[in-house]
């Protein structure tokens, strides 16, 4: 006998819409589970993408040499503050690195620290980066107005500063900042340029737009640093990064201990960040699984009630010739239709919220997570519908008809 699917769908839809409030309450667990998966993976993916973009904007062919161990053996970030203050990296290491030659194109020292920029009655905490004029080209950091500092500024240790766009906006909201005087940690500086906006900041990646740039010599004096905070090494092509890292390590090991420095690239940083996200994702999936489980039990509960409520109907259908299999399918379809509605509603709400949140927060909807959430929600209905459906299917027709 052919199964009349359209009538089965019709009947499932009818039975669900007959009791709208109860159906809605039943699917709430599934809705929340699916909603959570869609929204949280979208936010997680957004943050991850944001961080990756930040690193990208800094130039893909860059290797970082930092004091101490940055990435722990097990992949996570290790304590760094102490290592930075005890840095063993010296300016002479720059020439050591440059002597390696191909594939290394440039090596730039960074002196880094925190500071307060003040002027105009405004004040802002900033990251200070002391570096060489080449920084601008290595890091794709162009000035939007004014200029980056020059070799002359560097050799004379001039008190000039290039502001990040956010700093300029906050300190000089309605005026041109180039040419203005500011104090940096209490010392007067002249603003000679403002760099272009890179965007973002605040989700684990560096807040690039809130940095200020000084000539290396000036920064060294201001921050009272003897040694370098970081060396940026530019490589000619991305595929040469592993080779360059190996050469760098060997060159530095001639002068330094293994524990005194780390060599890493953004690929490594990203994979470390990915590991963290993976852990978070697993935790999220656990939460989603629990809420789907609760949702599934809700569906099972309601389906059992439905089967009891409709005992006479089941008996009648069997009396006029419905076989066990058809009754089973009918109730399974009904259970999975419930969870399907829940899944669709959850996805809809999730995408809606992601769309709204996307206006002021990085969001990346992962189509795979949406599809998986959908499939799992439908499966929830099927799995938790099996027991009630079998119960319905096995009701002897006579008992079903005698049921009061």
């Amino acid at each position: 006998m052919k199964i009349k699917w359209s009538r089965i769908y019709q009947s499932a839809f009818f039975s669900i819409s007959r009791n709208k409030t109860r159906s809605f309450l039943t699917i709430l667990g599934v809705v929340i589970g699916v909603f959570a998966v869609v929204v949280l993976t979208a936010i997680g993916g957004g943050i991850r993408k944001f961080i990756a973009d930040q690193f990208d904007s800094l130039g893909a062919n860059t290797i970082y040499v930092s004091p101490g161990e940055v990435l722990g053996e097990d992949g996570g970030f290790s304590r760094q503050a102490q290592a930075v203050s005890n840095s063993q990296l010296k300016e002479s290491d720059i020439s050591l690195i440059l002597r390696i030659g191909v594939p290394i194109k440039a090596a730039i020292p960074l002196f880094q620290g925190q500071g307060k920029v003040a002027a105009n009655g405004e004040q802002k905490t900033v990251s200070i980066i002391g570096t060489l004029p080449d920084y601008s080209s290595v890091r794709n950091t162009d000035t939007a107005s004014g200029r980056f500092f020059t070799k002359t500024d560097q050799s004379a240790a001039k008190k000039v500063v290039v502001l990040g766009p956010k700093v300029a906006e906050e300190i000089f909201p309605d005026q041109e900042s180039v040419g203005q005087k500011v104090t940096l940690n209490g010392i007067r500086f002249t603003v000679i340029g403002v760099v272009e906006k890179k965007g973002g900041g605040g989700f684990g990646g560096p807040d690039i737009d809130s940095q200020v740039y000084l000539p290396a010599s000036t920064a060294q004096n201001l921050l009272e640093l003897e040694n370098l905070s970081t060396i940026l090494v530019q490589v000619d092509a991305q595929e040469n990064i592993p080779q360059a890292k190996e050469k760098l390590r060997n060159a530095l090991l001639k002068r330094l201990d293994e524990d005194d420095f780390s060599v890493f690239d953004q690929g490594e940083l990203l994979s470390t960040i990915d590991q963290i996200f993976q852990t978070v994702t697993i935790a999220l999936l656990g939460i989603a699984a629990i809420s789907l489980l609760v949702g599934g039990i809700g569906i099972m509960n309601v389906m059992l009630a439905t089967v009891t409520e409709r005992t006479r109907e089941i008996g009648l259908r069997k009396a006029v010739g419905a076989k066990e299999k058809i009754i089973l399918i009918q109730f399974l379809v009904e259970a999975s239709a419930l969870s399907l509605f829940g899944g669709v509603l959850g996805i809809g709400l999730g995408l809606g919220l992601a769309l709204i949140v996307g206006n002021f927060f990085p969001i990346a909807v992962n189509p795979a997570s949406v599809i998986i959430a959908f499939v799992v929600s439908v499966l929830t209905g099927v799995i938790f519908g099996v027991w009630p459906a079998r119960r319905a299917a096995r009701l002897p027709p006579v008992e079903a008809l005698r049921y009061q």
Partner: protein, 227 residues
């Protein structure tokens, strides 16, 4: 010409298990039913009328004895085969009507066609004609709660007839109806019998039983008299 035998019961017993105690509801029933019979099953409440009807209608299985239905040994058939037989050869009319709620009269009549091989369009036309013949041509889409008891029972009769069964089983079909509607439903059954359908009717009403061609009297699960 000798009438065709369609049902034969030999020493049929039906027992229920109640808290481990075996309670017989039917004992040693011997009965033959021929095509074209209009048989009334009569007896006091609890005598086993419905139990017998359910066994005859393949809704329930007997505990012991031999049961031939259209020459098939029922004990050897699977539940699915019984479902098929019910679908094709049997129509039921119940005391409680048993129409699906919030479902139109026409859809209710079409219910048995969902579970067999039917041409949907042809089935629909047949259902409309049946309802028209039963005076419900204007009520095709009425829900059961928008029909009187008599009208609901006529929808149930149409549903019983939709697959052109050989036999109609009716368990107190007039029990929930006022006298007038009861008379109407009974005369519908009577006409169906005149058209050749075999009708098996459970009833309390000895007036009705007198108008059928045969009567089986039950008491305490036993047949006391067959006409």
């Amino acid at each position: 010409m000798k009438p065709k035998k369609i049902i034969q019961l030999n020493q049929i017993t039906r027992e229920y298990q109640l808290d481990g105690v075996v309670v017989p509801a039917l004992k040693d029933i011997n009965l033959e039913i021929n095509e074209g019979d209009f048989l009334a099953i009569v007896g006091p409440s609890g005598s086993g009328k419905s139990t017998l009807l359910h066994i005859l209608g393949l809704l329930d299985r007997h505990s012991r004895g031999d049961f031939l239905f259209l020459n098939k040994n029922i004990s050897l058939l699977t539940d699915d085969q019984l479902a098929d037989l019910r679908n094709r050869a049997i129509g039921f009319v119940f005391q409680q009507f048993n129409l699906l709620p919030r479902t139109g009269a026409l859809e209710n009549v079409l219910l048995p066609t969902l579970y067999g091989d039917n041409n949907p369009e042809e089935a629909r036309q047949r259902a409309v004609r049946l309802l028209e013949d039963l005076g419900l041509g204007k009520k095709l889409n009425n829900y059961s709660n928008q029909l009187s008891g008599g009208q609901q029972q006529r929808v149930a009769v149409a549903r019983a007839l939709i697959n052109r069964p050989k036999i109609i089983f009716a368990d107190e079909p007039t029990g929930n109806l006022d006298t007038q509607s009861g008379k109407e439903v009974f005369s519908i059954l009577k006409n169906l019998n005149l058209e050749g359908k075999t009708i098996i009717l459970v009833t309390h009403d000895s007036d009705l039983a007198r108008q059928t061609s045969r009567q089986v009297y039950l008491q305490d699960g036993k047949i006391t008299k067959i006409n």
